[in-house]
């Protein structure tokens, strides 16, 4: 090929990759964690993915080559690929191309996002996405701001409606933090949103945990919720119940 004729190499900041089972979409998943996130959620368990510079530059080709090794396994095991973060839509071109290439391999694809940057996802990206794991962090704008520090609720809701209109399946995720996101009214608003959308296949209520605390220590950062206890089973049951009442499938 003549010099200059090669297409520009598309690369992105990749924090790490992992394989997981049943927690990042259906079945066994190859999960790519991209580096960089515009939000600073108080409960974030991966502060090591906040900055693009904390990732390594990887080309789409490199990642696809790695994923291809797992293709058969995840397919046989009923899974696929999940692009997560950080916030994958902070790098929409890289994410879009990665999803497209995985889709072309016949893999089930999932996008794990807050939706805050949903406007950056073009239709081609969403065409290559079989499932969006949409992290709706709060039901009220002021709570959203308190949780994320930097974000606004409206873009996520806009993105959710767009997905519903397109017919893209969604799993709505809600991180339950005692004292922060557990108010009955807060949860009710999220449940109302979820119930009003077509294409919500399930709601995942994720109990807050402190397993990421050590990462804050390693980074020399204070963990804002160091003293917050995980929700007790009763609280978890109540919140899940609020979603179930709206006729939603909850896990």
């Amino acid at each position: 090929m003549a010099p200059g004729a090669a297409p520009p190499v598309l690369d992105g900041a990749v924090h790490s990759w992992d394989t997981s089972i049943g927690v990042d979409g259906p079945g066994t998943r190859f999960v790519v964690f991209l580096a960089g996130c515009p939000l600073r959620c108080r409960y974030c368990h991966s502060p090591d993915t906040w900055y693009g510079r904390s990732g390594r530059r990887r080309t789409v080709d490199e990642m696809v080559a790695t994923i291809a090794r797992y293709r058969r396994f995840v397919q046989v095991a009923g899974g696929g690929v999940t692009v997560s973060g950080g916030e994958p839509l902070l790098q929409p071109r890289f994410t879009g191309e990665l999803l497209r290439r995985c889709h072309a391999l016949g893999l089930h694809t999932a996008l794990d996002t807050s939706g805050f940057l949903g406007d950056r996802a073009d239709d081609a990206l969403l065409d290559a996405t079989d499932l969006v794991l949409l992290d709706v962090k709060a039901g009220r704008p002021e709570t959203y701001r308190r949780v994320t520090g930097t974000g606004r609720l409206a873009p996520t809701l806009r993105f959710a409606r767009r997905l519903a209109d397109r017919g893209t399946p969604m799993w709505i995720r809600y991180v339950l933090v005692p004292g922060l996101t557990d108010a009955v009214d807060e949860v009710a608003r999220v449940a109302d949103v979820a119930a009003g959308l077509t294409g919500v296949a399930r709601v995942e209520v994720l109990p807050f945990h402190r397993l990421g605390a050590h990462k804050y220590a390693e980074l020399g950062l204070a963990f804002p919720l160091a003293d917050t206890a995980p929700p007790d089973p009763e609280l978890l049951a109540r919140v899940r119940g609020q979603f179930v009442e709206r006729g939603l499938t909850v896990t």
């Binding site: 089972i21 049943g22 797992y70 095991a77 896990t251």
Partner: protein, 748 residues
């Protein structure tokens, strides 16, 4: 028992085939088994009778756990007929027979080694019997004595320094599976008749060493079969004829197994592949109206109760090495038939159901031969049982069947053999990590400084040179292979002479195919060390005698267990290289050399005896079990680790490759149904990728920590470690910490 049954044709309604004319249980199973394609909904819970029998035993377990043993008959060297019949609950038991005259009373088997017996007796506060001592020192030699008479000096040195270890030179070798089904299908008289014919056929041959040995062994086998009949008669059963009902089939089969455990204190006393066979009888009983589902499950439950109380007298050191009190009563379940029909029956489900009816337990060691082609209902039930009990292990039927056949069973943890057609000379394992240190140190032991391997120039310089280390390692492995097989040849020659498995071998074809099953430990440590030397910079720290005692690693290096070919190729190279070196050795009785990558729980003890390694592991730190990546170094999850392990070629390690994975329930999905689906999916994926063996633990770290603090709350907590399930609360604190520190593949 029932006089009427004497007139009943025991083979009524069975489909004919060559099995009628020749001893061929596999053919019988093929022609008569009926695959069950449904789910677990037909299963029944325990009856009051079952629970009453089990409770009677359970009441004895706390005392046994506290004292280490419940009771010992120290005065009666065990034989098939040495002990009077024993019962757990004579009124209620459906399947009878104990190793001695009372439950949990352990027998002594001095023919394997008197020292082991006497050390164990003293450890448990009992005085060795003087008459037994006199017999086995003055009149009768033991296997243990005979081995040490014949060991050459370099084997003794290698053994002392723990580079070759766990050898069955002080007790029974085990890992031989008699085809106990033959007792039920043919009755003992027919089996004796067949042995006589084999022996007569040898009369025409010249009396060379081999022929003399074969004749003597056949004579011993015939004698053992006679004793088996006598033992059964003591319980009121005439097993000279074939079994005529399901209850009889289980009883006959169990008598065969029981007799083997009366005669041999084998390291692993595995059962074989019995469920599909038993199912033929239970199904016929149900058709004949003799039995309903509850009754069928009761028989299986009662049988499994008996298998759970198989006991051997061993030293506390032995138990420490292997964690608890293992017997490896391995039963192989499921798998596919060569004709493409699954070998899953309702009785396969019933065996697994015992883990609910009687609660989880490490024994019998229930082993599922997994294929992605197995019926969905069975796959889901297996996954469910794993989730609920962590008590079953999986081996890849798609590797085993082509390499052996579809009537193959696992002995111990991962050792496949065609039932009744193959046997093996169990060879424990060598320490590949220590061997690397010997290579660097010119054959000197890194802990003692002793010259164990022949002196070679130590690897010099401040920084280890990869090519130089590899050349030295190659020489060390040559020496190790030779010394190791030398040791095994001595052991098995003497075991055949002094502690021959008369009954188990009577239940094999003649002639039998023999394997010599070697093994390796410390694979991941050796591989990561070589990777560090190759991809990083490893500086050597030497003591005043020049012995390399520690290493400083600079730079990053790929580690085994992350599906990184750079590291995984080293693992493949090491497995293939050492296997090839072993195969070049001449084995006793021309056995085929095979190799396993398996440690069970001895990875802890191997680690304790191994110095600092170039991968950064500290001296004394446990190795990873089996073929596992080193604890904490697999950073891309269970699937990546599994794919690394799956690269190890089964052809080079035909005695099995073991991987233990622990996942938290949350790490498999949110709901029970999802977790079942996902675990079955992972098993499909791993089998499809060519992985051989997978132990699955579904446990929370918190549960284990709580069990360490409050063992009394977890009497039945079972965890799987490298091919074997153990009762967690019976592990030493060191082993418990090792299990807890193993990578938990839970997602955050």
């Amino acid at each position: 028992m029932n006089g009427n049954q004497r007139t009943v044709d025991p083979w009524r309604d069975f489909r004919d085939g060559p099995w009628r004319e020749t001893i061929d249980v596999a053919d019988f199973v093929h022609r008569n088994h009926e695959p069950y394609l449904g789910d677990a909904s037909f299963l029944t819970g325990p009856t009051e009778r079952t629970l009453a029998v089990w409770d009677r035993l359970r009441a004895l377990f706390p005392e046994e756990r506290r004292r280490g043993v419940y009771d010992i008959d120290a005065a009666t060297p065990s034989t098939i007929t040495a002990h009077a019949p024993g019962y757990v609950d004579r009124e209620r038991e459906l399947i009878v027979g104990l190793q001695t005259d009372a439950p949990l009373r352990r027998a002594i088997m001095p023919a394997g080694g008197l020292r082991m017996v006497e050390t164990a007796l003293r450890a448990y506060g009992r005085e060795p019997d003087r008459r037994v001592h006199e017999i086995f020192t003055r009149y009768r030699r033991t296997h243990n004595d005979a081995v040490f008479d014949a060991y050459p000096e370099d084997v003794l040195a290698a053994r002392r320094s723990h580079i070759v270890t766990g050898l069955p030179d002080a007790y029974g070798r085990g890992r031989i599976i008699g085809d106990y089904r033959r007792v039920a299908l043919y009755g003992v008289d027919r089996l004796i008749e067949e042995r006589r014919a084999h022996k007569a056929a040898l009369d025409g041959r010249r009396s060379t060493d081999d022929v003399i040995r074969d004749r003597e062994e056949l004579a011993e086998q015939i004698r053992a079969l006679g004793e088996l009949k006598e033992m059964a008669a003591g319980y009121g059963f005439d097993i000279s004829r074939p079994a005529a009902t399901g209850q009889q089939a289980i009883q006959w089969l169990y008598f065969g197994y029981l007799a083997a455990t009366k005669e041999q204190n084998g390291a692993a006393m595995s059962l074989g592949r019995t469920a599909g066979f038993v199912d033929v009888y239970l199904r016929r009983d149900i058709v004949e109206g003799r039995l309903d589902e509850t009754g069928a499950q009761e028989l299986v439950d009662d049988f499994v109760i008996k298998l759970r109380i198989i006991r051997f007298l061993r030293t506390p050191e032995y138990d420490q090495l292997f964690s608890g009190d293992p017997t490896w009563v391995t039963e192989s379940l499921g798998g596919m038939g060569a004709d493409g029909r699954p070998l899953v029956t309702r009785t396969t489900f019933r065996y697994l159901q015992t883990l609910y009816n009687l609660g989880p337990a490490p024994e019998p060691n229930l082993t599922v031969l997994w294929s992605p082609r197995l019926p969905d209902g069975f796959k889901r039930f297996c996954a469910q049982v794993s989730l609920d009990t962590s008590a079953i292990q999986y081996e890849n039927d798609e590797l085993i069947r082509p390499a052996y056949d579809d009537d193959t069973a696992i002995a111990c943890c991962v050792s496949a053999m065609r039932v009744g057609r193959d046997m093996q000379f169990f060879g424990a394992r060598v320490n590949l990590a220590k061997a690397l240190l010997y290579a660097i140190n010119g054959g000197r032991d890194e802990l003692t400084g002793e010259q164990v391997a022949p002196p070679t120039p130590p690897v010099g310089g401040e920084t280890l040179d990869h090519d130089e280390v590899l050349a030295a390692y190659d020489r060390t492995l040559d020496w190790l292979a030779q010394t190791y097989v030398d040791a095994l040849n001595v052991i098995h020659h003497q075991h055949d002479r002094y502690a021959y498995e008369r009954l188990e071998m009577a239940l094999h074809d003649h002639p039998v195919r023999r394997f010599m099953a070697t093994g390796v430990a410390g694979l991941s440590v050796a591989v990561d060390s070589l990777s560090a030397i190759r991809y990083g910079r490893v500086k050597v720290l030497r003591d005043e005698t020049g012995l390399a005692v520690d290493y400083a690693v600079e730079g990053e290096f790929p580690t085994y267990g992350n599906d990184d070919d750079r590291a995984d190729e080293i693992a493949v190279w090491l497995v293939e290289t050492f296997a090839a070196k072993l195969r070049r050795q001449r084995a006793y009785r021309d056995a085929e050399l095979t190799m396993s990558v398996l440690t069970i729980t001895s990875n802890v003890v191997y680690g304790r005896h191994t110095g600092n390694t170039p991968d950064g592991r500290r001296a004394g730190e446990p190795f990873a079990p089996g073929a596992n990546p080193m604890n904490g170094r697999d950073t891309h999850g269970l699937v990546a680790a599994a794919l690394s392990v799956a690269k190890l070629p089964y052809d080079a390690a035909r005695d099995g490759i073991s991987l233990t994975g622990t996942v938290t329930p949350d790490g498999l999905g949110h709901t029970r149904e999802e977790r079942i689906t996902n675990l079955a999916g992972v098993l499909d994926g791993y089998a499809d990728a060519g992985g051989f063996h997978l132990n699955v633990n579904v446990l929370d770290r918190a549960t284990l920590l709580d069990a360490m603090a409050h063992p009394e709350r977890y009497p039945q907590l079972t965890v799987r470690v490298s091919g074997y399930a153990v009762n967690f609360v019976r592990l030493t604190p060191e082993q418990q910490r090792d299990v807890v520190s193993r990578t938990f593949h839970g997602s955050l």
